[in-house]
Amino acid sequence: MTQYLLSMYQPDGDPPEAAALAAIMRDVYAVRDEMIERGSWVASFGLHPASTATVVRGRGVDAPLITDGPFTEAKEHIGGFTIVEATDLDEALSWARKLSDASTLPIEVRPIAR
């Protein structure tokens, strides 16, 4: 078994209006419940918006130690992530597909190195 990080990419800016968001979250939780039921779920977290992020650069990086903002300049940032355990990429991709259908967001699938 391999663990995969499923990162959900969220556009910056205002979230969908409350009713739509509630429906989306219900669908996302349903996928999470299915993962738990099937024994595939390891962890999942939602994040505060990228505007709350802070970057720290230690010694050896020629830049201020602490700066405001997410690491990459982009229009989308990781809004949350799920870790699943799967036998192979196809299984991980099918979870990602369900999560993407539920959240209406693109999902990046990346194997976790042991």
Binding site: D88, L89, D90, P111
Partner: protein, 409 residues
């Protein structure tokens, strides 16, 4: 044939099959390639003296398997990370009642997994199933060898680390995955049919490999008319192989080929595969291309070709692909029906997209020649020659150019 080149021929013919079998056996692409290489090395030392065994492929797989077992045993006794050896994941498949799976079919679905870029898929398939060296693949795709080597290493790394499975996909995933596989098989065929390697304009082994893979995919997916369509298309193209080159290795264009030399049995097979596909009434680009070739095959002589029918088929092909190369081929057919000037007018819309493509200038040169504009034709032939990708094509174009230039004087 010298014993050494006989071993090389066997190597080319069986390498893909042996590598696929070894990947399933030992679960590691690099190890599989190495042990198969070892087996061929042993063969090249032994066979010249002992003779080639009756079933060389089985000998190679058995020898490679022994090497793999020795290797794993050595690594285990060394306390090496046997189970960490990044293994290719080959989950069990339901076997009852299912069609017989070919290891190479599993491998092609792995190589053509949509998680890999198309460029990586083609390179891996050619390397693992076509038995091409990285040098040959790099030359075929006009990229530096180091770039191609890195592309292959990365793709193998992704298969290993992300655990892209070594199996034929589930029914639900099959249609999408199939489209990717068909595209790669067709590219492999084209590499064999008019690849860039100078000495082998027609690499029979690659064409055979693509044809076999297309046949396997068609057999495995009897309900997928596009899989049948690709198989039919390749059968039509292979049927013309005997007439496609002169004895000196010069290209003979379709309309000038001696049609008696086309392989009638293959044409018949192609027709029947295509008929069965078209009955399903789900046309697609491969079926339409096969149908175009069927129209050519129906004409006993080039003059009897039903070009109007071909134009209609190209209209449909253009509608579903939108490809500039299809538009170029359509222009050729239109020129046969309505004359070279109409064809030339169509080409003028394609210059921007196809200026770097040799065939565009070759087609244009031919139409200019037929329109009586010899001086312009010579210039167009020059451009085509500059962009020619292999020696046979270049010789052919130079001959045409010389003929036109002489006529002009």
């Amino acid at each position: 044939m010298s014993p050494q080149s006989e071993v090389e021929r066997i190597f080319r013919q069986h390498r893909g099959r042996a590598v696929a079998a070894m990947i399933r056996f030992c679960g590691d692409i690099d190890v599989a390639e190495e042990v198969v290489q070892d087996a061929f090395l042993i063969a090249s030392q032994r066979w010249p003296a002992s003779g080639v065994p009756d079933a060389p492929e089985r000998w190679i797989v058995a020898t490679a398997r022994r090497r793999a077992v020795d290797r794993f045993r050595r690594e285990r006794t060394r306390g090496d990370r046997h189970d960490q050896a990044a293994l290719v994941h080959a989950p069990p498949e339901p076997t009852e009642d299912g069609p017989v799976r070919d290891d190479r079919l599993r491998l092609i679905f792995t190589c053509c997994h949509p998680a890999l870029s198309p460029a990586a898929s083609v390179a891996l398939t050619l390397r693992l199933l076509g038995g091409l060296t990285t040098t040959e693949i790099a030359a075929a795709f006009l990229v530096p060898e180091a770039t191609m080597a890195q592309r292959i290493v990365r793709a193998k790394g992704k298969i290993r680390d992300a655990r892209i499975p070594f199996r034929v996909p589930d029914d639900a995933d099959l249609p999408d995955r199939l489209a990717a596989v068909l595209a790669v098989v067709y590219l492999v065929f084209n590499e064999g049919y008019d690849g860039h390697a100078d000495q082998h304009l027609i690499r029979d082994d690659l064409c055979e490999e693509a044809l076999r893979l297309a046949g396997l995919v068609a057999e495995l997916m009897p309900d997928e008319p596009e899989a049948q369509g690709l198989f039919a298309l390749l059968l039509f193209l292979v049927s013309r192989r005997p007439a496609r080159l002169t004895e000196r290795g010069d290209l003979v264009p379709l309309v000038e080929q001696d049609r008696r030399r086309w392989d009638g049995a293959l044409v018949e097979q192609a027709r029947s595969v295509l008929r069965a596909a078209l009955r399903r009434d789900r046309p697609g680009p491969y079926q339409i291309q096969a149908a175009i070739n069927a129209v050519h095959a129906d004409a006993a002589t080039a003059a009897e070709t039903d070009w109007a029918q071909i134009v209609l088929l190209y209209d449909r092909l253009l509608a579903c692909t939108g490809s500039a190369v299809v538009a170029l081929n359509r222009a050729v057919a239109v020129a046969e029906v309505d004359g070279p000037l109409v064809g030339l007018a169509l080409l003028s819309d394609l210059v921007d997209q196809l200026d770097g493509y040799g065939s565009f200038h070759a087609v244009r040169a031919d139409l200019l020649r037929r329109a009586g504009r010899a001086a312009d034709a010579v210039v167009a032939y020059d451009r085509a020659v500059e962009r020619a990708t292999n020696g046979a094509e270049r010789r052919f174009l130079e001959m045409r150019r010389a003929t036109v230039a002489r006529a002009e004087r």
